[in-house]
Symmetry: C2
Subunit: 428 residues, 2 copies
């Protein structure tokens, strides 16, 4: 016998789990579509080199599922969607009317040690604007995040959107903290782990790569001052930053400025942001994104800026569970049509057909069972109604409609059944 467990780090979605996943994503699709985002999709297999070039060393070297096809082409299962969508935008740039608003719902694969919030295959929502540098993009993407979170039932005390700007951070390091040019990249990487590591460890690491203790302490002080540091930046840096522009306008409540936000992916160039769960049990980053000044440089000489985010289902489900926001699985059917003898199976199919014409979800039995057993099954499947087809009643083309929620029943002509059932259903 072979094992029945799925491959490590991947999941089977039986109907109840699948129903939950679909409701969560369906709610999010509706939210982004209200903002005019349209869905696209692409292949799971891509040429391996598009990840090796852009996704960062960790993904390419250790996390990529790669293979060679029978024609000798080196392929990889996409670990993220951005390189694919960059390829698609570049390939269609002449027929697209930029800027465009696109979203996708895709599974991505990374070879990692499975742990809480991290699996090898996960599903994600990607939401992006391509083709504009305007601060209106930042505002809209942040609004979309608020719409998505609120459509899932999350209130503002449950989460926070923190945003920083890589160009601003770069200027903070060079112009305010006076970090020598050659130490800037390693300082950035240090800041990426700023809140996850003890201060003493960070200080030791800084010293190791050549930053003296007093300078480290000064840096820590500057970073702790929050948005205050902005007034100390050169004017062109301040004016060039979409976030700094937003801080004076009506969109300032959409986010909290946080210079410590860096994010690992290489292509982000200015705005970067992360959404955090505020609950004490699950205090962690839920998802994030950022702006890239030139998304598709691998594929075209045309500069295409963009901004967007990707939101994975594993961390999101943890968040929803923590806050009691996970939806219930949907019922299998609205009604079960139950014939009392095998000879009445065709009659039951006829009744079921009638109900389906009115978009009612209906099952009929595949094997003959006693009525009591069949009613129990109907109840367990979540059916609100049972329609019992008996010998005598059927001779008058009538059936018994039983409301399983209210334990009431009535005898009814089959022509009247669909309308009656729908009325009862809407009465709750």
């Amino acid at each position: 016998m072979l094992p029945t467990t799925p491959y490590r780090g991947t999941r089977d979605f039986l109907p109840p789990e699948m129903s939950v996943r679909q409701q969560i994503f369906g709610t999010m699709f509706d939210a982004v579509e209200r903002y005019g985002y349209t869905r696209y999709d692409g292949p799971i297999l891509e040429s391996a080199e598009i990840y090796e070039a852009k996704s960062g060393q960790e993904i390419a070297d250790q996390q990529l599922y790669s293979l060679t096809d029978r024609g000798g082409r080196r392929l990889a299962l996409r670990p993220e969607m951005t390189p694919s969508v960059a390829r698609m935008i570049a390939g269609n740039v002449n027929s697209l009317q930029l800027p465009v608003r696109w979203y996708s719902h895709v599974n991505c694969h990374r070879y990692e040690r499975p742990q809480r919030g991290r699996l090898r295959e996960h599903w994600q929502l990607n939401v992006d604007i391509f083709g504009s540098d305007n601060v209106a993009c930042e505002i809209e993407i942040f609004e979309v995040i608020h719409e998505v979170m609120s459509s899932l039932g999350a209130t503002r005390d449950m989460w926070v959107l923190r945003a920083g700007d890589r160009a601003v951070l770069d200027s903070i390091l060079r112009d305010v903290a006076k970090i020598p040019q050659d130490l800037v990249p390693r300082t950035m990487s240090l800041i990426d782990r700023w809140e996850k590591m003890p201060r003493e460890k960070l200080r030791a690491e800084a010293e190791e790569f050549g930053m003296e203790g007093p300078r480290f302490d000064e840096l820590a002080e500057i970073l702790a001052s929050g948005s205050e540091v902005l007034s100390r930046l050169p004017e062109d840096v301040r004016e060039g930053s979409p976030l700094v522009q937003m801080m004076d306008g009506d969109a300032k409540d959409l986010f909290v400025f946080d210079p410590l936000i860096v994010r690992g992916l290489q292509y982000y160039t200015s705005t970067v942001f992360e959404v955090f769960d505020l609950s004490p049990e699950n205090n962690r980053s839920l998802f994030g994104g950022g702006r890239y000044s030139d998304l598709a440089g691998l594929f075209t000489t045309q500069r295409i800026p963009g901004i967007g985010f990707g939101m994975g289902d594993v961390t999101l489900a943890d968040f929803l569970e923590t806050h009691g926001l996970l939806p219930e699985p949907r019922t299998q059917v609205d009604a079960a049509v139950i014939p009392v003898t095998e000879e009445l199976f065709p009659a039951a199919r006829e009744v079921a057909w009638l109900l389906r014409q009115s978009s009612v979800r209906v099952s009929t039995p595949l094997e003959l069972r006693k009525l009591g057993k069949e009613l129990t099954r109907a109840d367990r499947s979540g059916a609100r109604f049972a329609v019992i087809v008996g010998d005598e009643e059927w001779q008058d083309r009538r059936v018994v409609l039983r409301d399983l929620a209210h334990q009431q029943q009535e005898l009814i002509a089959i022509e009247e059944l669909p309308a009656r059932l729908i009325t009862l259903h809407h009465e709750a």
Copy 2:
């Protein structure tokens, strides 16, 4: 520069193509859900051995995309869904209340030479009943196929469901055509190609593996007689066949009996069926399925029978196109809210927010453009309405609602806007 084309045999779905794909599958999901089928999903990566054991030599040897993970596990991208679902059913058989009705929407990979109707990655709908041998399953699955086809707009003159029975064919070969036992498997394989190859070639091949000419001619005659041959079969074979049982009842119009239907996949054991396009330009098999007496033998000693079908998007789209049944892509938004100055961007966002609260899909510009240009963009995006936010009107919190379809416009207070727009929308 790297190429922007997707990997050979796979497809990019830009928003218009994705919208068509989603509408087609959405229609089919609704159809199967009216029959009480619930959706499941599983990982794309599976242990390679589950395909090597069951999917047939051609898939395992030549068509499998396989890889070894960094832990040394041999994996494959699923070429079909049945082995995965068998694994899932076997692993959960104690908590499931069999029979169950399940469906899935998955992409499958096969390394093939891309051609009309055949790609390397395709999307398919899988619909199955697990846990019953009853003929009611055959009837229901055939009904579901009719429901799916009719929900897509296909009428009965466009397609036909042909069904055969491997046990019946086996008996035809042994008991009626008197084919020697050891020639039966190769004769089956011959019959699988019966209508695709010239008769003379089939005859030559039969002779090669040891069937004499006169016996071949007799076989051809028997096969040409259609359902007539059934009366010459032993009674236990006739009575054991779900299709033969159906031919006397109210379900006989759901299919055409055709002893030539064999289908290649190894696990089918009795009923096998195929849906054919009847149009002269596209006369070919669209999809098919069958019954397996023991689905999950690789994973459990418990016998789990099943019946179902898988329907790929590539052949289906060809069929719909041939018959003029492809849906139009959905519009991007219902309304475009257009501010006439940059200062009015926040006002436009406020109006858009109001409309979105009423589930209207709305866009606002990301860059300031002249009103005329913006109206042209709105029209091209498929928006039915433009809402123009002008300086003077906004001082009274009023906007201009323009119906782009009817070239009419009115000045309206923003509180009244959502209801008015929805009314106009429903007036068509």
